[in-house]
Symmetry: C2
């Protein structure tokens, strides 16, 4: 493929709302809250934007096709011809569409907006149906499997095969809550103890309440620009998109060869590593946002992305390797587990957090930077979609 | 913008199902029907594909997030990380995402799949809510406006301002039914008379039954490749994407300055013309697919795309200029009006039909080619989204 001659694409501004229950604002208002911050951060105006990509998983909001009202409210009427969806990886897909449009020379200044108001729908179960993203007629109707049920199967497999413990899973929750406590944008700003986590009730065995990310409302936005445009604007605190990787997988869990990992994570990360020239993520990447919709998902991601060997994810968290001062700090912002997981917003919000890290603007949550490279890993469904970005300055 | 240095992208294979009521097949099956034809047409296998983009407006199918099962059934598990939506322009947005991915050098062989099973949902009204794509809380709840109601307002404005007649609108239906009668993929393969059309009952004054496109099921697919890949494969009957244009517009009809045309059509076509070097569409373009969801929409599109002056669209159809032998044959395949309009499929199906024309494979419906250039024009909602492609050989 003819890579190298194409336009380089940089992220010049990011914004993110407070995550949580956002009864105070409509979907238009939360999107604008993120967009305004991103535009101000980039130092550009809405008139400068040539393309707006809206990402929402579509959790049965009153607006069935929300891209038009969202774009209008944000000042992008005329510039927002597309909405994207990839279940819980929707935000990463939105950034991709803005990214390829610039890299292809179609636009040179674009915004990706991700949002979700999950508290607007009837029941968490109806969310679970969507978020699950599997084969509806077969698995949902026949077995009633919902989202925690799917990840519970993965956790059970991981525990059985590798001896991963509920205490190790709980340590992911404890770390991410501790980080979220210092993140003003987080839904849960309270530390939890290991005792509280391992003592919490089961949601779907072996996953307990504190193994699960919450039902969240929120939005995030990123302003992307071509290298030429960045020079023209005289912007110097740019975070470059150095690699992107994607994959997807079967809709039918029984067809998966392995429940103790996600093939989409492996494939997406390898594609992104290849593009960005990453041979050893532990040595080359300073900070990562991994998709911890459930604690077991963060543990599996350590392995699937090559931060440790397969089966050693439990040990990786237990030995503090994913904490500050460890080999590769993960979810320094609190993760989906404690910052929150408004589906369509999540992938863009990961970009927001890693950009803040790479610009050394993460305050009390700043990781130590050696190579000034970060990673985001965003999963849709139960590994139905996989997206990885490598960012660098 | 740095255009010119980027990878050229060609369409090397197209497929389209029969449109109509497709109770005989699931969404997976109709998608595969189109994909199989496109892959065979391209002479590549599903293993060769690096990216699959699925477009569906999402008309409340039993599969809430259908990209995963669709991709799996078509053999693209691992390659389908994204679904796109742009209401009735969804198909064009799917082609765009595949196109920019190749032009950006991320993939060099991609497929865009558009589909919809509209007959699967409860009532046409629930479709109308989606297809309308406006500001739900305000316009739908307050006034109960549905899709034919919106276009009826546009038709009334066009008639009042320019003297466009119901007979002229009916002539669009007569032409498109006459063409569809010769198209084996069409939903309605029956000619209609002008008397029948102007005598049919009102759906929403001034639009009659024969001014409206039907409720359709169907799918279409297009295989896109980089110039490098095309050379490697030794393919010579390539149709190149020479220009793309997009726009979008306000969600609130009362905010529109003008009801007698669609700003999104004007802006999208001008962007595409600029990119493809089209100064005079009548002289440079041989055949066009225009978005005739209602007959008035085809008449407005003649004007908005510069085939005639504003207000002279009625005369353009009346004088046969959009028919075979006229200045620019439009909807030679029967249009949305008579071939059918399965929302997510439509934009890809337009590409299918124009590719067949430019390869001189349109049989009884072949237009005369001088410049070997064609155009597709695809609208989402009531001009909420606008997409235009210029294709050429």
């Amino acid at each position: 493929m003819g890579m190298g001659s194409e336009t380089r694409v940089g992220i010049i501004g990011v914004g993110c709302t407070k995550f949580g229950v956002r009864d105070d604002a409509t979907i238009q208002e939360i999107a604008f809250e993120a967009v305004r911050e991103a535009l101000q951060d980039a130092g550009v105006t809405r008139e400068d934007i040539q393309l707006s990509v809206v990402g929402t998983a579509g959790t049965r909001s009153y607006e069935l096709m929300p891209a038009v009202p969202i774009n209008e409210y944000c000042g992008f009427a005329g510039k927002g011809p597309i909405r994207v969806e990839a279940a819980c990886a929707t935000g990463s897909a939105a950034v991709y569409t803005a990214y390829t449009s610039i890299r292809a020379g179609i636009a040179d200044l674009a915004v990706a907006i991700g949002f979700e108001k999950m508290n607007e729908v009837d029941t968490p179960t109806s969310l679970a149906v969507g978020g699950r993203s599997g084969s509806y007629l077969w698995e949902f109707h026949q077995y009633g499997t919902t989202f925690p049920g799917y990840y519970a199967m993965l956790a059970a497999a991981h525990m059985a095969r590798y001896g991963t413990t509920d205490k190790q899973m709980a340590m992911v929750a404890v770390k991410n809550h501790r980080n979220a406590a210092k993140n003003p944008k987080a839904q849960f700003r309270k530390e939890i103890t290991l005792e509280k986590a391992v003592g919490s009730r089961y949601v779907a065995y072996p996953l307990r309440l504190f193994d699960c990310s919450p039902i969240s409302d929120g939005a995030a936005a990123a302003v992307l620009a071509s290298e030429e445009k960045i020079k023209e604007l005289g912007i110097d605190n740019v975070v470059w998109i150095e690699g992107v990787g994607y994959s997807s997988d079967t809709a039918n869990m029984p067809k998966r060869a392995d429940y103790a990992g996600l093939k989409a994570s492996v494939e997406a990360s390898q594609m992104a590593y290849r593009m960005a020239g990453i041979d050893d993520p532990l040595k080359q990447i300073d900070v990562a946002a991994l998709h911890d919709c459930f604690t077991i998902a963060e543990i599996m991601a350590y392995e699937d992305l090559g931060f440790c060997r397969k089966g050693e994810g439990g040990k990786f968290i237990e030995e503090g390797e994913s904490d500050f001062g460890g080999k590769l700090p993960v979810n320094t912002f609190g993760g989906l587990k404690a910052k929150g997981h408004p589906l369509g917003a999540t992938g863009v919000a990961m970009i927001y957090e890693i950009v803040k890290q790479l610009r050394e603007e993460a305050g009390d949550l700043q990781a130590e930077l050696k190579n000034y490279k970060g990673l985001t890993h965003n999963i849709g469904g139960t590994g139905h979609f996989g997206w990885v970005y490598i960012l660098g300055v």
